[in-house]
């Protein structure tokens, strides 16, 4: 039953399945209908499920998330698309003060099963606001769950699970991996949504990443292997909650950890992972947890993004620095 498909297609198929099986599922956002989204992730869905299930919205992100909340209050399960990472901020108030807090505010009486899809990250040579990685700004906010798949199969299954979740889920799609193909088996039994996965075993050092950086870390591990270094690669999959147990288990074995993400290092996921893993593994670590990520500067114009984004060399450099301790 498994089929090879691009990540964008895997998400499309997952949305299709959800629309098909649960009449309460809605897809909404700018250009998600006739156009099928600027990345075609919702391609064909409006044609097949109609305008009342797959909704082209006015150009107003706060309005999109705010009305999605209202629809969820009415019993719907909206899957909202934010067109690009940099355009989520007009909706930030609704996400942080309403979506994240209504379950607690109502002492559990109200559930808001809203999924917010955000194509994120750089590497596609885009103009400003189209390449950012704002996941830390959501992970810090209690009440939200934050996930990011790294491959087609996870993209498919994590979307199923996000839609089924009774909590709001911010679903970050690594847009530069949209066209990467991978197996999707719609009859598989998926791993739990918030568990990390060891995607490559190793003994000398752990690389932890999620979303777009997992592929890079695998390449780094390959390159390092050629130099005789055995790196373990963890696909974290979920940023909130973070699967610290998995990281701890790996670090207790390898004694070294490098965290890689596209987002700026300062106050990024790597900080939280480093802080907590250092606490948990204080006597195991042979080196401080190192972080590779974006610099403390606005995401640069496309012709500079190669310098800004973690790449093979920069991660290898961090690996070397760690191993040098």
């Amino acid at each position: 039953m498994a089929e090879k498909m691009a990540m964008a297609k895997a998400i499309n198929e997952s949305l299709r399945r959800a629309l098909d099986t649960d009449p309460k599922v809605l897809v909404m956002g700018e250009d998600v209908g006739k156009l099928g989204g600027v990345f075609r992730v919702t391609d064909g869905l409006q044609k097949d499920f109609g305008e009342s299930r797959v909704i082209d919205t006015p150009l107003a992100e706060s309005g999109i998330v705010g009305t999605a909340i209202g629809l969820a209050l009415r019993g719907y399960r909206p899957v909202v698309e934010i067109q690009f990472d940099g355009f989520v901020f007009p909706a930030y108030d609704q996400i942080v003060t309403q979506l994240a807090k209504m379950h607690a505010r109502s002492l559990g009486k109200v559930k808001l099963p809203v999924v917010i899809r955000i194509p994120y990250g750089g590497g596609i040579g885009a103009v400003e606001h189209h390449s950012e990685s704002p996941e830390a700004l959501f992970a810090h906010v209690a009440g939200l769950k934050v996930v990011s798949p790294s491959n087609s199969s996870d993209a498919y299954w994590m979307m199923q699970q996000a839609i089924q979740s009774d909590d709001p889920v911010i679903y970050f799609e690594p847009k530069r991996r949209y066209w990467d193909k991978g197996e999707v088996d719609p009859e598989a039994i998926p791993a739990p949504l918030h568990k990390a996965r060891v995607v490559r075993e190793g003994t000398d050092l752990t690389l932890a990443a999620y979303g777009p950086m997992v592929k890079l870390c695998r390449e780094v591990a390959d390159a390092a292997a050629e130099e005789g270094k055995s790196l373990e690669v963890l696909d974290l999959r979920s940023v909130s909650p973070l699967d610290f147990d998995a990281v701890q288990a790996s670090v207790e074995k390898t004694r070294r950890l490098v965290v890689v993400h596209e987002a700026p290092v300062f106050f990024g996921s790597g900080a939280e992972i480093a802080a907590r893993i250092t606490e948990r593994c204080f006597y195991h670590l042979e080196a401080p947890v190192l972080r590779v990520g974006g610099y403390h500067a606005p995401y640069p114009p496309a012709r500079l993004e190669e310098e800004y984004l973690p790449d093979l060399d920069r991660v290898l450099d961090a690996v070397d620095r760690s191993l040098a301790y």
Partner: protein, 405 residues
């Protein structure tokens, strides 16, 4: 109930001073203008925007458009509206007193806005859904929410103490304007369901400036959502008069979005009832959103933390006291013979009972369990919350062991 409305051209209005003006002088010159208006009150057309069915003196005036919506109202129902307003005011006063006594951390009084809230609240049907701000105690009353439940968040024991779905009355929302979008989304859902329920969103004059409110106008118009935007223009957003939010009357905002806006005398419970019914019925019939601006007055402070003497004078308040929503209906009930002394006396007693019940309920309200901190952050759980809960438990337990602190 249209008998009183025959004397159509007598001077009878002291209430509607500001209706139809550009709003650019709202507040500061309240008294003077009221006086002027009283003198020229016979010229009904001078305030074309304001819907009024009861004058401040309690006289019923005809209104071709809206009379129909209260045509069948019975004396009993009228007394009911009166009772609602009186009990709401009593509850509100009790809460203010409880704040002074330290039982509540804060209270946002609805004093002066009883007609706007009871009129609109009583216009809703059981299956309608209401999205309040933090001041809709009167609407909550109409929806059957136990008033003591409203006090939890002001006491600081919870952030919302009722199940929104029990009475189709959403939680109080503090981030100004955000609920207008929830209401719109909910109404979109109602339409999708093919139901003929309607949704009503409350917000204030200040809130009208928020982008979220504008976006809710856009979304509701584009999707033709069955929602009524009920703006209580109580003349003030904390210390800022309405002229800091708009230079034209707020009800006019709607037409630029393609749906009707109406200004109603917010101190006239009958008019509020009629106009809201009309708007809700439009929604039910699939005619989409309506904006109702209830022109009223916040007679008290913004909240118990506020000191209005810093930004407004007593004259304004005095002028509005003459238009008191409760007094107005009382006069009407008395002059029409729809209520007798017994009714008023009984209601007084009922008020006292309510006050006592509220007082006792608040004092008996337990503090939340410490572990409530971790209880509802997520519906499906979160590993970190579990971890922190466990740490917290161990930490708490350490005191017990030490026997200290």
């Amino acid at each position: 109930m249209t008998v009183e409305s025959s004397a159509a051209r007598k001077p009878r209005r002291t209430a509607a001073g500001k209706a139809g003006t550009t709003g650019s002088k709202t507040g500061a010159t309240g008294t003077k203008r009221t006086t002027r208006t009283t003198r020229s009150a016979a010229k009904k057309s001078a305030e074309p925007g304001l819907v009024q069915l009861l004058t401040p003196e309690g006289e019923r005036v005809e209104n071709a458009e809206y009379d129909a919506y209260v045509a069948g109202i019975t004396p009993e129902e009228l007394r009911g509206l009166y009772r609602d307003m009186v009990l709401t005011r009593r509850f509100d006063a009790e809460a203010t007193a409880l704040q002074r006594q330290g039982e509540l951390g804060l209270w946002a009084s609805l004093l002066g806005q009883e007609a706007a809230q009871i009129g609109s609240g009583r216009a809703t049907r059981e299956d309608d859904y209401v999205f309040p701000t933090y001041r809709e105690h009167g609407v909550a009353w109409c929806r059957g929410v136990d008033p003591t439940n409203l006090l939890g968040m002001f006491r600081g024991v919870n952030n919302g103490g009722w199940d929104p779905n029990s009475n189709n009355f959403h939680l109080y929302t503090i981030v100004i304007g955000s609920q207008a979008l929830h209401a719109t989304g909910y109404a979109m859902g109602v339409a999708k369901d093919g139901a003929d329920s309607a949704v009503i969103a409350y917000f204030g004059d200040g809130a009208s400036s928020q982008g979220d409110v504008a976006e809710s106008f856009t979304f509701s118009a584009v999707y033709n959502a069955p929602v009524v935007f009920f703006c209580q223009n109580n003349q003030w957003a904390i210390s800022e008069p309405t002229e800091k939010q708009t230079r034209v009357p707020l009800y006019q905002r709607a037409q630029g979005y393609g749906f009707p806006g109406v200004r109603v005398d917010g101190n006239d419970v009958l008019a509020c009832l009629a106009v809201t019914k009309w708007a809700l019925e439009r929604a039910r019939r699939g005619e989409g959103p309506t904006l109702v601006e209830a022109y009223t007055y916040r007679m008290g402070a913004h909240t118990t933390s506020d000191d209005p003497s810093r930004y407004r004078g007593d004259e304004e308040r005095l002028a509005w006291e003459a238009k008191d929503p409760i007094l107005r209906l009382r006069r009407h009930l008395e002059s029409s013979g729809h209520a007798d002394e017994g009714f008023f006396a009984e209601l007084e007693a009922e008020s006292e009972t309510l006050g006592k019940r509220v007082r006792e309920a608040v004092r008996a309200m337990p503090d939340p369990d410490h572990f409530a901190l971790f209880e509802h952050a997520y519906a499906d759980g979160h590993a970190l919350v579990d971890e922190e809960r466990a740490q917290f438990a161990a930490y708490q337990a350490s005191f017990a062991e030490e026997g200290g602190h």
